[in-house]
Symmetry: C2
Amino acid sequence: MQNWLTKRVDLTPERTAITYAGQQLSFLQLSQAVEKLAQQLASKLDDNPRVAILTTNTLTGYEMILALQQLGRTVVLLNYRLAPTEIAYQLNDADVTQVLQTDSYTESLANVQQLPFSEITAAPLAQVELQSNFDLDQVTTIMYTSGTTGKPKGVEQTFGNHFYSAVGSALNLGLSADDAWVAAVPIFHISGLSIMMRSLIYGMEVRLYERFDVKQINADIINGEVTTISVVPTMLKSLLNELPVGATYPSRFKTMLLGGGPSDLATLNKAQLAGVGVVQSYGMTETASQIIALDPKDALPKMGSVGKALFPVELRVAHMTTEGVGRVQVKSPTLTVGYLNKMDKYEASFEDGWFDTGDMGYQDAEGYLYLVGREGDMISSGGENVFPNEIEDVYQQLPEIKEISVIGVSDEHWGAVPVAVIEFNQGQQLTHQALVDFGRQHLAHYKVPKNYYRLTNDWPRTASGKIQRYLLQENTNLDDKIL
Amino acid sequence: MQNWLTKRVDLTPERTAITYAGQQLSFLQLSQAVEKLAQQLASKLDDNPRVAILTTNTLTGYEMILALQQLGRTVVLLNYRLAPTEIAYQLNDADVTQVLQTDSYTESLANVQQLPFSEITAAPLAQVELQSNFDLDQVTTIMYTSGTTGKPKGVEQTFGNHFYSAVGSALNLGLSADDAWVAAVPIFHISGLSIMMRSLIYGMEVRLYERFDVKQINADIINGEVTTISVVPTMLKSLLNELPVGATYPSRFKTMLLGGGPSDLATLNKAQLAGVGVVQSYGMTETASQIIALDPKDALPKMGSVGKALFPVELRVAHMTTEGVGRVQVKSPTLTVGYLNKMDKYEASFEDGWFDTGDMGYQDAEGYLYLVGREGDMISSGGENVFPNEIEDVYQQLPEIKEISVIGVSDEHWGAVPVAVIEFNQGQQLTHQALVDFGRQHLAHYKVPKNYYRLTNDWPRTASGKIQRYLLQENTNLDDKIL
């Protein structure tokens, strides 16, 4: 396939490609800026086919990613929020020798050359040959999974992965020449990068924000500037909460694509009143973004579901229990072609050609998928499978509880039992008995945590904010038992 | 990829799949009807992996094609208008043993079993396993090219060809859940079949018409029933001419996708006044429909152009003359994987991996493609390349001329010279001198036909109505010279 950026210049040179902090570039202008950067990079880069980048959502960072892609380099997208030791692990694993970094990054990284953006944009232009074609089988990006259960894995994403991801999304959400998609999620994550790739494939405007500025984004939406936004649950809530009572979004604004967890009823109701469709979705770095999505009209009748597999995607739930809960497995042309240096782990993820997501779930009679938790989080208690998520969701309704995490601890009689670690809201607390009583009202007996502990340290979290239960289990002091 | 029809039942069971003569079927209903037909077919079909079908645009014909596809058979789509000897050639070439035919077909075909639809729909149900997956590399349909230059060739189209065709079209025209596409072009041609395949891939309503009933179709468009229609030039003209003066189409109606030749200025102006975009396009059976298209906003500034290559398609003009005219060559994932039994011809169509379309054309400075004619039609006269189309277009402006075709005849001095065969309008004629004088006003000297002949027989045409110039040259009596 022809290089997507040059193809866009051929097809829609005047159409807006990106808007950032008041600047607006057409595809022609973006292409020219990127080509110039590629020429400057050529005078700075060594021969390593992999180049890492450390950037927030800035126009220059955006252009740098595209410039590396134009040069045919594999872009290793580093999470800007990681600690230097975490970054060092990834750089070493990916055998990277040079890191392009936004000027505001001040940490020192060992064994690599760090190239601030300002040094690149000041460099002389070297002659380069840009990649004329994008081979769908070629790995163009590598991202490390946040790793709720171990060492990060470098996920290799091909042009074909990104292409089919964009196609699957368009077949689900539709497509129009005047679409404009807000990228306020990080472009170093698949959620943000997939918006960039869609922009090239669709000829679509991206509205890039360095920070999730809820007031500014709401103002831009209300002003009719965009059609679509990718959000995680907290962003969705913030946008809707900040909307003045009785205000609605304009009809141009069609879709809030929600990843990273389900939405709650109150938020979905607010979205409906505001006149925008919330598309809850499920996907991962390994599938180059969403592969399962819920039609907004099903949001209330199918509350809690992540929906159905997109057109190019196949889904099955394998190894089902008698209640129909099993492993979520998929086939998809968006599926990564490998974990860098961990092909054994990659191959071990497959069963009969199906990729095992590591998530557990079930499908209802009409095929809608519901997730119940990660495989590793499942607690096997007296022959019953207990999923922390379900228990947490119930307790999260208590106003005294700020956050709760449920883990399994071994038990002589039951094999394992659920216990809860709780962070109370400022000045609040509950007794053991009150917690047990509440659980028994809403949960099967075996799902009610046997013991409750007060959080004594910070929550151990991944870079993307998810609680790492396996660390909680190992490291958290479980002595502060609630009586 | 999962079977597209069953996938549609999973994703959008209630959405309308097809409307025909007042009947409306959802994807669930269509799937049930198709599955029943497949079970009935199973009790009638032999083991031949290829099955031919002879049908006009009827609901039963539509369902039969899908049923054969569900059974994993390769569907040989026969042109209903062909003579029995022409059909016999294709049946023999494709090694077909059974032909499903609409009941109104009354001709006898040798060496095959003819199965009228009514016999199939009355057959008992047999157990069958429907194809669970559509392998993108699998040949699912075969269509014979109309052959302006020789024996028809069986074009093998894979699921992948149809998938990428639908994707390329969506990336160009956009996509919406409420799209509805008129299929009044034959479903045995790629123009019609590609609408059927898009319907499965997009989850889109097809509005099927057995005949091009201009009044009914215009009424349905005005009534807001559809968003898109595929047309050839005469259909486009008829629709716009029948529209009451001052009337406009509703905003829901977005696109008239024009194939089979360019439009004229008057028609484009009418379309603009009627408020609908005309997307002129270029494609062929070998590319599973359109691969090049002209944005409606470019229709007037780029008059005469067929546009630019769709997103998944690459285009080049090779072996250019000094004026930039050359062979139109393409790369496309929609490109046929072979000509049945004529792989030598197929392979001979490629140059450095580019498929040679057999058309001649040029690109302007902004990359828009203009076609000047078929390679075989080009006349090499005194070192100049002369294209019949250009000359015909000029003479076609004369009100006395009903139709004109220009061919080359050998000439001792110039190598070859253009001559014209003319069909005058009833009671009209022009002298040799008048024709020469008119030509000299509008054309370079060497392009003005040396001699003019009155048409003495019928025009030799392909099944799709194109004049076969090579037969004109060989067979037409060129004695009735205009003096």
